[in-house]
Symmetry: none
Subunit: 191 residues, 4 copies
């Protein structure tokens, strides 16, 4: 029996890729660099991922899945709407600040031609529960009467910006500032 295919390697490759691709973009990402960062031979990379496109697409889904799952953990169906909203918002912010690369990568690639249609679809399906939640808020007059996409943009847009600011060191959010951010988000979308 040969060495068994090391499942752990896939994660190492994901991490190496994520670390590198944010600085360079898709075309700037060098497979040789990924391999080096993951401490593999170039050829080995291609055992695990057929090519660069596949690597990026699978990384995207992997990250989006991980992130979505984590955010939705904060959801408790027994909570009142605003309480649920608050918990998930803080969850989203904290996760994003804790792993900014993950969030930035998802954001940066979500609308590009480097992802296949299929990847985009699968990515969007992950968000379905969130969309349902927002819709229920709209229906129950807790939130402004607007398309879900728009409401989500209002809530998430500022978070993305905050993550960028923290990442580049312009800002370091205090607990009170986070609270303020939450209030702003809620004031924006609440009915």
């Amino acid at each position: 029996m040969a060495r068994p295919k090391d499942e752990n390697k896939i994660n190492t490759i994901y991490e190496a890729t994520l670390k590198l691709v944010l600085k360079t973009g898709f075309n700037g990402l060098k497979m040789a660099d990924v391999a080096k960062a993951a401490k593999l031979a170039t050829g080995t990379l291609y055992i695990y991922f057929k090519n660069k496109d596949v690597l990026i697409n699978e990384l995207f889904l992997h990250l989006k899945k991980a992130k979505t799952t984590e955010v939705l953990k904060a959801y408790n169906p027994n909570d009142a709407f605003e309480e649920a909203f608050r918990k998930m918002w803080f969850s989203y912010l904290d996760i994003s600040l804790r792993e900014p690369e993950r969030m930035l990568f998802i954001e940066q690639f979500a609308h590009t031609s480097f992802l296949t249609k299929k990847t985009k679809q699968q990515g969007n399906q992950l968000l379905a529960p969130l969309a349902v939640f927002i819709e229920s808020g709209i229906k129950n007059k807790k939130l402004r009467h607007l398309p879900v996409d728009i409401v989500l943009s209002q809530v998430l847009g500022p978070i993305y910006e905050m993550v960028k600011l923290e990442k580049e060191g312009t800002v370091k959010l205090s607990t009170q500032q986070k609270q303020a951010l939450y209030e702003m988000a809620w004031n924006a979308v609440k009915l």
Copy 2:
């Protein structure tokens, strides 16, 4: 920088570059394609821009200058704060929706390593008047007491997201929706 060269051609190159670079990113952008789109020979491109880095840096400043100038046109020092805020916000939204590529390019490149420190600095200086305006709002208790960067993020983040949604065709904003967006932005940041 003295520019003895055909100003018209430079604009053609800017337009060609902008059209192409959004889909491809910096590394995916091919100088030959820029030349073709601008109806020039490759060599000619290099008469106007020393190399690809310079082209992108100058394009960035060019666009940021154009956009900032246009937005600030909406500013009238005689207006009350909220009125001025409202006018500029709508101005910003309309300009962004009218020329989404311009905005997306600025957004996309603002924090990357493809821009030199100098370019970034010059770009930020252009925003100084806006920062001053926001600061005055904070000082005069019109806006929440938070760092300017944070306030701006709250206001601009959602706009960026809306432009992306419109660009990809997910959403087509009605006048009422624009009004709603404004209210949300104002509700978020007002004191």
Copy 3:
């Protein structure tokens, strides 16, 4: 005006390729070696031929065209059939011996998957006049009543073998031997 595209280069490339590909086969042929043999940079090669497949396909057609044209020059419609046959046979033999690489390349690649269907078709069309000539011989009871392909194989098969023998130095044909070869070919196919 830039340097004009040097049409002569194409021939230089053809020669370099032909010299190399016979020893190596398609997959063994290195574009870098072709470039070196043609005294070009690798990139230059790709200006003239989109890729290796195209290079080989165009080389094939080029050689087949040249050879066919040359052989058919020996054809005089006023000659009696056997006389015409004899002239063309000697023409074919002499041309093949003079430029054995050309013949061997055509032979070696004619039936491989390295050539596209289109190339093969175009190559076969070149031989149409020869087929017509053979058919007329069959119809007029000068040649055995067999499919043209078979008759041609009988005539050309031995020539291919002779070229290989001469090329590898096993044999150096004398005038009398050539005459004997002709007689053998004629004795084989005549009715």
Copy 4:
């Protein structure tokens, strides 16, 4: 060469290699594909054959030996020359048509640099009895007075071509056509 290894597997490898190598040539042949076709792991292939060169050289000798042996079976020293010639010619044709890959492989590789000098020599030695037979025919005025290599080329060249035509489906030889082919061969070389 002592071969303590599974003779059965060796044949499987030979068959897999032969099936693949004709389409691809030496350089196009992938050891992984051979292994897969032979239902072995790549590593196992290397237990039986030190490397690709060795595999091809041994396959060549194997096939040439098999084919030569089979053809020579048709030889009966008691037969008159022409009768012996006829039997072997038909034997050669039938074997070639029955296993065209074998013949084409031998033909295709016989003169290439993928075979070592030693392999080529050993291959030629196998043909020695045939050469002796042809020489006796020349000496006894049954055949034209020409070097053996030339006589053989006249006889085998057309057969190679016929096999190619049958293989690609252009032609399907009838019994009468085979008979005609034999007559043509004999008319060509007989004195």
